[in-house]
């Protein structure tokens, strides 16, 4: 990250630097798309194999209310980020910082909700590799649990893998925004130089996009 208006030595001018760093972030996002995409491909294949088991796992054990709230939280955080970039472009530093802090707050909210979901799944013995036991002992309607336990476990393998990977990216995003907030506090950004905010925003929107697809795939398979 650069000081206010500081031009890195390899670039001729700020415009070139801005173009390079924006394109660079887009190229990185393309790699992230393929990264998540590999895991999603596996998930989609197995969902085709084991539609019944995956539907049962999603219907019986995924909390739609919590998932919905999380989706809304993340979409709001994308909104706050977009507004932050807007304020940065217009030099409104205080509003920018408010938006950045709001984004961080929403992100942490998401992570907390996710953590409670994880804890619930742990208590229900649904964590593969740790304590997976199927059918779970205290389910209300055990007669509905007709799927092959191994296939249900596969669903949870991917549930934890995908959401944990996503959460990791969110934590990194929180870190990035913390750094950006500190820099904004120190007056690093101006209408001429706010590219780090924009580029961080792109990353955050991508994290949101991943969740936009994870939500129906994991929570809405009936």
């Amino acid at each position: 990250m650069h000081q206010a208006g500081h031009l890195a030595h390899q670039f001729e001018d700020l415009a070139q630097q801005k173009e390079a760093s924006t394109l660079g972030m887009w190229a990185f996002l393309a790699t992230e798309l393929m990264f998540f995409g590999g895991a999603l491909t596996c998930f989609v294949v197995y969902r085709s194999f084991y539609a019944h088991a995956f539907a049962q796992a999603s219907r019986e054990h995924m909390s739609i209310p919590l998932g919905t709230i999380n989706t809304a939280v993340l979409l709001c955080s994308s909104l706050t980020v977009a507004m932050g970039v807007h304020f940065a472009r217009h030099g409104q530093q205080r509003k920018l910082i408010v938006m950045l802090l709001a984004t961080i707050f929403l992100a942490i909210t998401f992570l907390c909700i996710k953590a409670t979901e994880y804890y619930t799944e742990y208590r229900h013995e649904l964590v593969p590799g740790l304590n997976f036991h199927y059918p779970p002992h205290h389910h209300e309607h055990p007669d509905r649990l007709t799927a092959n336990p191994a296939n249900v476990e596969l669903f949870f393998c991917f549930y934890f893998f995908l959401t944990a990977l996503h959460a990791l990216h969110m934590i990194v995003g929180v870190g990035i925004f913390s750094v950006i907030t500190v820099k904004a506090w120190r007056g690093a950004f101006s209408p001429e130089y706010y590219n780090p905010v924009e580029v961080s925003g792109l990353y955050w929107h991508f994290v949101d996009l991943v969740w936009i697809f994870l939500f129906p795939l994991l929570y809405l398979l009936h």
Partner: protein
């Protein structure tokens, strides 16, 4: 944009089985498209940015599409049943 958040998220109530996932994915795609175009400013951006976006999506489509095509076309020429991996009971 804030409207998007509220309305679209609300429209996921469980329908029938197969159609439900299609609708859910369609909504997800619409949401994603709006985020990409407007939040990420792709709509007003240079052609090169659009190329990067489309390339990423195309490559993912290649990965998913061809892999799924393998599984779905196995019965076509060899007569075997589709998707028949049966695990042993635990």
């Amino acid at each position: 944009m804030a409207l998007l958040v509220v309305t679209v998220v609300a429209t996921y109530l469980p329908w029938g089985s197969r159609i439900g996932i299609v609708i859910a994915m369609a909504i997800a795609i619409i949401k994603a498209t709006l985020v990409v175009l407007y939040f990420m400013h792709v709509k007003g951006s240079s052609g090169l940015t659009k190329v990067f976006v489309i390339a990423g999506l195309a490559w993912l489509a290649i990965l998913m599409g061809i892999t799924l095509a393998d599984y779905h076309t196995r019965p076509w020429l060899s007569g075997e049943a589709a998707m028949t991996v049966q695990p042993q009971e635990r």
